[in-house]
Symmetry: C2
Subunit: 190 residues, 2 copies
């Protein structure tokens, strides 16, 4: 029992949140899973929500890292933003915890989960915004409101990847890249 108790708790909580979601995870369960007295959890975290927050912060970092890994400075701004957004949403589609969280938000509307999802969205937008600002700086694209543009790019990708599938056949990754280029890069004008 000499190992890092905080990490044990985080690991246990991550596993439980991933498996059962926020609401259905009890602190007793986390304590048992972590081989720790329940009181111990409260020496590291003020409450359940703060424990949750720490774990989601890690998820956000992982997403950012996953996005960063597909960025290639050799490639164009558009290619890179496409890769980053696609990677982030793919991550969201595959990562246990992310899946459970979005499901819980949809099906139960747990407030703590809503908050955390808002935080996640804000982080993604901030990340893309920063890429946009760099591209404007470098003169790679024409000046625009980076915040709104990042916001719309995310909306576009969520629409193409998640919403479109609700009523149509899923779109190929290349098709999405093509649409992204068509609308954001070239425009429909002749």
């Amino acid at each position: 029992m000499a190992v890092n108790r905080k990490q044990q708790i985080i690991d246990a909580a991550t596993k439980s949140f991933s498996l059962f979601g926020y609401k259905a995870t009890t602190m007793d369960q986390v304590a048992k899973l972590a081989n720790v007295g329940k009181g111990t959890i409260y020496t590291f975290f003020k409450n359940k929500e703060e424990l949750f927050d720490e774990i989601v912060s890690t998820l956000i970092s992982e997403m950012k890292e996953a996005a960063e890994q597909v960025i290639d400075p050799q490639l164009s701004f558009f290619e890179n933003v496409h890769r980053a957004l696609y990677r982030i949403l793919e991550f969201r589609k595959q990562h246990q915890l992310a899946i459970k969280l979005f499901q819980e938000e949809r099906e139960m509307g747990t407030p703590a989960v809503q908050e955390v999802i808002k935080k996640l969205e804000t982080a993604i937008i901030a990340y893309i915004k920063q890429k946009i600002e760099a591209a404007i700086e470098k003169g790679e694209i024409r000046p625009c409101d980076a915040e709104i543009t990042a916001f719309l790019m995310l909306k576009l990708y969520v629409a193409l990847i998640f919403d479109w599938e609700k009523n149509h056949e899923p779109l190929e990754k290349e098709k999405i890249a093509e649409l992204f280029e068509l609308y954001f890069l070239k425009g429909l004008s002749k």
Copy 2:
């Protein structure tokens, strides 16, 4: 009592759906409001959902008409689509019944309401799609998948008008037109 009973029922139901939503409207209430026996309703409509459907179909027609009124054949495709989408969403924002329906969908997720909202969305997309096809035909814009484009244009407007407001100051109508032009017409390329 010689007046059109069907219309009395529709009027009463419209009023009640607008005021209380779908779930909270009872058939007894509609009958009473319409000064009609409950059984009479069932001589005109198979059930509650069909009555609801008829009323929503009227709402959809009204929206289409509202959009059609701001279309000006003299103007460009983009100006017209902007006017139409903005008008439709403004309508949705102000119309009693539309407000109640979207609120009920958000807060209770009533299945009949979800269905009807999907139907409404489909109608808007079909309307825009048709405008896009005409514009491609006339050579006003470059060829593209009209269905996906209409879908994305609606998503863009909903994002700008409804979603953006959740975390930021609302955008001016002109600002939205400008963004629409920037992304869909010109693109960000230099």
